[in-house]
Symmetry: C3
Subunit: 348 residues, 3 copies
Amino acid sequence: MQSKTLGELATYVNGKVIGDANIIIKSASTLGRAAEGEISFLANPKYAKQLHSTRASAVIVGNQMDTSTPLLVVEDPYYAFMQILVLLHGYRTHKKVGISKRCSIADSAKVGVDCHIHDYVTISDNAKIGDRCTIYPCAYIGRDTQIGNNSVIYPNVVIYDGCKIGDRVIINANSTIGEDGFGFASHNGTHHKIPQIGIVVIENDVEVGALCGIERGTLGDTVIGEGAKLGDLVTIGHGSKIGAHCLLVAQVGIAGSTTLGHHCILGGQAGIVGHINIGSNVTIAAQAGVINNIPDGQVVVGAPAIEASVGRRAYSMIQYLPEMRQAIRQLQKKLQQIQQPEPLSPDK
Amino acid sequence: MQSKTLGELATYVNGKVIGDANIIIKSASTLGRAAEGEISFLANPKYAKQLHSTRASAVIVGNQMDTSTPLLVVEDPYYAFMQILVLLHGYRTHKKVGISKRCSIADSAKVGVDCHIHDYVTISDNAKIGDRCTIYPCAYIGRDTQIGNNSVIYPNVVIYDGCKIGDRVIINANSTIGEDGFGFASHNGTHHKIPQIGIVVIENDVEVGALCGIERGTLGDTVIGEGAKLGDLVTIGHGSKIGAHCLLVAQVGIAGSTTLGHHCILGGQAGIVGHINIGSNVTIAAQAGVINNIPDGQVVVGAPAIEASVGRRAYSMIQYLPEMRQAIRQLQKKLQQIQQPEPLSPDK
Amino acid sequence: MQSKTLGELATYVNGKVIGDANIIIKSASTLGRAAEGEISFLANPKYAKQLHSTRASAVIVGNQMDTSTPLLVVEDPYYAFMQILVLLHGYRTHKKVGISKRCSIADSAKVGVDCHIHDYVTISDNAKIGDRCTIYPCAYIGRDTQIGNNSVIYPNVVIYDGCKIGDRVIINANSTIGEDGFGFASHNGTHHKIPQIGIVVIENDVEVGALCGIERGTLGDTVIGEGAKLGDLVTIGHGSKIGAHCLLVAQVGIAGSTTLGHHCILGGQAGIVGHINIGSNVTIAAQAGVINNIPDGQVVVGAPAIEASVGRRAYSMIQYLPEMRQAIRQLQKKLQQIQQPEPLSPDK
């Protein structure tokens, strides 16, 4: 953690100071929580009123605002905030443990330069670890699996045999990569296991959350595209392909043989059936249930998932079902009265 | 496991025996499964008829009932049943292994008295473990993380750096605490990782199920309040705060920066979006999808979640949509006939 | 991996060749991906048109088809395809490591013949492992737990104390078996842990996916029936019983004390509440929410789950709610106009 003046930060993020450029910034926080010496940011107009109550010493904004708090005006406030957090705090550092004497590396495995392999790690036959990787305790790297350079494997991650992990990949604790796909041929009431001969390919710059399960393909490969980010407890079925730069929030589940284009965003607990195609730049809301192909750029909500402009209204109307049903019954009754007015009683 | 007379049990739970106080109780079971020598309980009136068929030697009840089976009358039958199970069976005991020679404890780490640290455990630099803790094999305690007294960490649990775990906390196997939050600043199509500088705080008497993922905060802390209990495969997003004594059933997912009051109950697979406030004593049904603030004491169901008195009826009416739609069409047709009666055919 | 002629494969799977029986088959793939030397299969008529574009050297079919590609005609094409994949590729083989010097086996534990126990495995007091089992690194076998013959326990699996695992069981990485059920007696605002004195029984030929959590029973046992297959991140509550040969796809959640018959199929993310009975041969669609008993053979969809013939139409009609509501309002307005025509204005 280090300190910078607001002016230095402005130079660093290519922004403009409005106010005192000499104030010292030690850390960063949200508008609501920031204290003196901290810089905050305003990316969502919804929080604009907090600009007047914040105790932050400076605020990163996209446009000049009417406030006495010093401002740092940039094109993309949230991105600048990220850059400043990296500058002031940096990312988690990894202890330089070298190759532990308490780990197990097969004779036929290869480990690159400047790697840090912790205690109780297993690296199996013919596995190949690139340069400058960190592998935390109790991780397991299967036979023939390859990991690129500068990747970090957190504790208790299990990567089965034959998988390919790229450069600068981060896999968080307790995740499992390359377990057999859920593939059985049912015959006479018994489910016979199908050999899963595909692998998992995780491309460069992917981050996988904690406790994710990514199945290997039955025949083809399961692929997580470059720059994609997976939250915690996400599961990807056998042979599915996640395009580059997709964001999959926690507890998303994607069945097998489904393809996603690039830059898709999947909200938490969303589910996608197998054997369908999702385009690029598609947004799937939290808890949505997708059972059909989706074209590029579409936004869907709900289960079953429907296009958002219709779906947001439609799902919010479920609450009116009781009154709608009652209204229909009243209409039916009234209409019947109009068509068949009650006969006069005989004694009239 | 030990035996007691029904009278001894009554004294222990502050209850009253109706029937023979000298019968011997060795164990406890449900009404349907209990055998001779076992005590059962009736907490839910729904099961009252089982009182007449049970083979239990005695039954814990809230009120005197018409039965020949000996009864133990108490104020809170289920609580008394729990107390008796604890008395007769006790909780799981943990083998006194001391500090294994096959674990790795950093020189700068501190471990309290009477701790049992199993094989293949890693305790990192400056970590601090309180007194009388048990840490099972292959658990990982990150740098600067603190654990209070009398806590139990089951096998393969991973606690990242800098987290704070209280007293009498139980964390079940394969859970992950303090992994980085899912926080990225997207800029020109690339998702840039935001340093996650908050921690996870787990207060006293919390139990975390197996395979849970609790993210550290981006700026503030993620907090699991005192006495809260989490089921299996629960995930809590970065910076969220779970109030004291909440119950989160299996597979619940809570996104980031959301706050729950105390004594909330969340059913299995329920999901809550980020940045909202849930009051205290709120009940959220299984699979509910919560996207708005909820005031104290409310019960909600469904996705999107709506207040239960409306929601239970509303969601149960989805099945009538086909007939409702058809009814509307018929109404439209009939009304059209009334307003524009079919013209007489020209030849009439 | 080995090669066979199409004729040899036909003999092996008891099928009939139409075309050149001497062509060499080296591997197998899908119709869309197959290359020369590979055999594919057509099990779903939906893919029949791919029969004409495939580059597969032969295709397994259920009936003679009009194509120049050599065919292998069998009764159950997908099953034959599985048999051929097993013949040509086989299943994953497990390295014969014997009993590692770096694992921990309690003196009172028993390990059968021809077992392979990897580094960093813990086998606790009185545990009993059958013959020809493989236990991968960092797995934990609790006190008194029994495992049958020919079972495979993948890395970082945790099996708590006293559980019973059958023969030929496969448990994938990071799964947890036998953790305490989510059972608390709430009294005066505090949740008191109930001792969980049941166990988990996993019968023969079960496969458990990665990252599954199967709770032990509170009083009775949790049972996974013979031949059942669980996908990844599945959770089974305390005391539930899953019948033989059920298929539970990824992220399924079943609460406690629920019983499933045999041969049920549960789609991904489906949830079932506690204390209910599901018959045999029941199909529960992905993301369904089951809150009531289901009789044998029924197919249900949606949350709340309803019988599929109604449910598929009903849930797909949620999208029409906005227009239905508007139609009702228009009907109400029109009917009002009919019943109470607008009064003439006074000056007319």
